[in-house]
């Protein structure tokens, strides 16, 4: 199965060289979990602040594809420890075995959808 490091590296490269993010770094959060943080080239949401860094949690779609609310909450608490503040939103980077990474926002609580 793909290691946590390998997944984090894939997401990091994808963010820098496919999505043109900058200052992308990998952090250890709790339980051997890794999170990637970086700056997107422009605001991801009109309500975001300029140069607002974004946390991305890498996950593999192929191995260990199950997910729970409890687990998501752990990501939030893990990042809260690093940031000293629970983030309003994180992003999950889902890595497929063909190298595709798809990114989804996970907002804390019930928020209204972006008006697209």
């Amino acid at each position: 199965m793909a290691s946590v490091e390998s997944l984090a590296n894939q997401v990091q490269t994808n963010l820098i060289h496919y999505n043109f993010w900058t200052k992308v770094k990998i952090h250890d959060i709790n339980n051997g979990l890794k999170a990637v943080i970086g700056l997107p080239p422009s605001k991801l949401d009109s309500n975001d602040e300029e140069d607002q860094p974004e946390w991305v949690i890498p996950r593999s779609l192929v191995s260990n594809s199950s997910i729970s609310v409890k687990e998501i909450n752990e990501w939030f608490t893990g990042i809260a420890i690093l940031e000293e503040k629970r983030p309003k939103r994180i992003t999950i980077g889902i890595v497929n075995d063909d190298g595709t990474v798809v990114y989804y926002f996970i907002h804390d609580g019930i928020v209204k959808p972006r008006q697209n």
Partner: protein, 466 residues
């Protein structure tokens, strides 16, 4: 741009909008339903409450329009008075004088005593539907009424004001008190009836099931036919020829067998179609295979309705094969069926095999709008016409190939021989309809395609470049 639709970008296109997904705005009730299309316009709704009076008033208006419509009158003209009597004991409705169009597909004829000749007995679904749309009024039967039916006195009209007239609420609680008829079945029934479909409870039509018919179909050919068929087969399909050819092909070199590591290094290939043939390995289901195995459906699945498109010639006594066969399922009760259940449902359908004697199968080809002749042809029709003209000018071989590709695409997309069951799911009162069809991408033993290009491996989709 071919890749556009396959990329990760998610577009929010209106194509994904379905009017029935949305809660309708009742303010538009009269406006939209009296308009020519009969389809409501997409209401102008807002994203979120903003606290303005404009918005609050507008909401109140919509609500009032709704409540008003719900309080509307349900009934019919006294001149066409249609009366039913609910038989509590049997959970059915007796219609003593059944007349009118409604009974084309509704009810079973009954005669009771001297009084009822040519009456109808309706099941709860049929009863509620007729009353709910205002086409029938219904009374609660009692001993007085039974006595009247059994009496021999002639010429007395029954005074229905001796009986309790049922309001809709009372009727529902009586009609759906048993196990057999559920609200969800009624919802599906009424939904289809409102659209004009003819709907009856599912029952086998004809006296033979698919299994028997399939067996007869296989053994039905005479010896002469078999021989001719065989000769024809050889000549047409060149199967023997193909075998010889491949043998010849192998002789020169003693190629390694298929899937041997050395196979492709030891055998000459001259086209990709042959390469694909050599890769054939995975067994696959071919249409009707499951009929022999007789799979059983899970207890939550059964066929519920036979459904026909409206036809003026419909005969209740001797109905044609249904256009759709529906299984109703409650999403709180059953999950998506397993393969065995799907196959069991397919095997229980009223179904006619291709070439089977008797009623002719209506080809399921989409007919381009049959509009009245006075209407100018639509864009779609014009396009279709032009396409047809263009086609007819092409080389015959190309026409044939195009025809073949079209038939094949249809068989891939809609099933190679069309055994389809409709599953109507009811999720807390919300309906969804799904076609579940037997597929066969290998297109094995396909007569229609054999008619065009005999002997082809129809499932190989690759077109050799020449």
């Amino acid at each position: 741009m071919a890749e556009e639709r396959d990329e990760a970008v998610i577009t929010k296109d209106e194509a994904n909008f379905d009017v029935e997904d949305e809660v309708q705005d009742w303010k538009l009730l009269n406006k939209s339903l009296t308009s020519g299309t009969g389809i409501p316009k997409r209401g102008e709704k807002e994203f979120e409450p903003d606290g303005t009076n404009v918005q609050i008033d507008s909401l109140q208006e919509s609500r009032n329009a709704m409540y008003e419509a719900l309080s509307g009158v349900r009934g019919h003209h006294l001149k066409q008075k249609l009366v039913g009597v609910w038989d509590v004991e049997n959970g059915r409705c007796i219609v003593p004088h059944a007349k009118g169009n409604y009974f084309r597909d509704v009810g079973v004829p009954v005669n009771i005593g001297n009084k009822i000749r040519g009456g109808m007995s309706l099941n709860p679904l049929e009863t509620v539907y007729l009353v709910e749309r205002g086409s029938m009024v219904i009374y609660l039967g009692n001993e007085v009424y039974s006595d009247f039916l059994q009496s021999n006195e002639d010429g007395i009209e029954f005074d229905y004001d001796q009986l309790v007239a049922l309001d809709l609420e009372f009727l529902y609680s009586l009609a759906f008190n048993g196990k057999e008829y559920s609200i969800e079945k009624y919802q599906v029934y009424a939904y289809l009836k409102r659209l004009g479909y003819l709907v009856q409870q599912f029952k086998p039509i004809g006296d033979k099931d698919q299994r028997t018919k399939l067996a007869e179909r296989k053994t039905g050919t005479s010896l002469v036919n078999t021989i001719f068929g065989y000769v024809d087969h050889i000549l047409k399909k060149n199967r023997l020829f193909e075998v010889l050819k491949s043998k010849l092909h192998n002789w020169g070199i003693l190629a390694a067998p298929l899937f041997h590591g050395l196979h492709f290094a030891t055998k000459h290939y001259f086209n990709f179609t042959d390469v694909f043939k050599s890769l054939s390995l995975i067994q696959s289901y071919s249409t009707y295979d499951s009929i022999k195995e007789d799979p059983q459906p899970s207890e939550n699945y059964d066929l519920t309705f036979n459904v026909w498109r409206p036809t003026p010639t419909f005969s209740k006594k001797n109905p044609p094969l249904p256009d759709f066969q529906v299984s109703v399922v409650n999403t709180d009760v059953a999950r998506f069926p397993n393969l065995e259940t799907i196959q069991a449902l397919h095997n229980r359908l009223n179904f006619q095999f291709k070439g089977e004697e008797g009623k002719t199968v209506i080809p399921r080809v989409k007919v381009v709008n049959k509009k009245k002749s006075s209407m100018p042809p639509s864009k779609k029709e014009l396009r279709y016409q032009r396409q047809k003209e263009r086609q007819s000018k092409l080389d015959e071989a190309i026409q044939k190939r195009n025809q073949y590709n079209k038939v094949r695409d249809n068989k891939l997309k809609y099933g190679s021989d069309g055994r389809t069951v409709v599953i109507a799911t009811v999720n807390n009162g919300v309906l969804n309809f799904i076609n579940i069809t037997e597929g066969d991408f290998k297109l094995q033993k396909n007569m229609d395609l054999d008619d065009i290009y005999p002997g082809n491996d129809h499932g190989i989709i690759y077109i050799e470049s020449t």
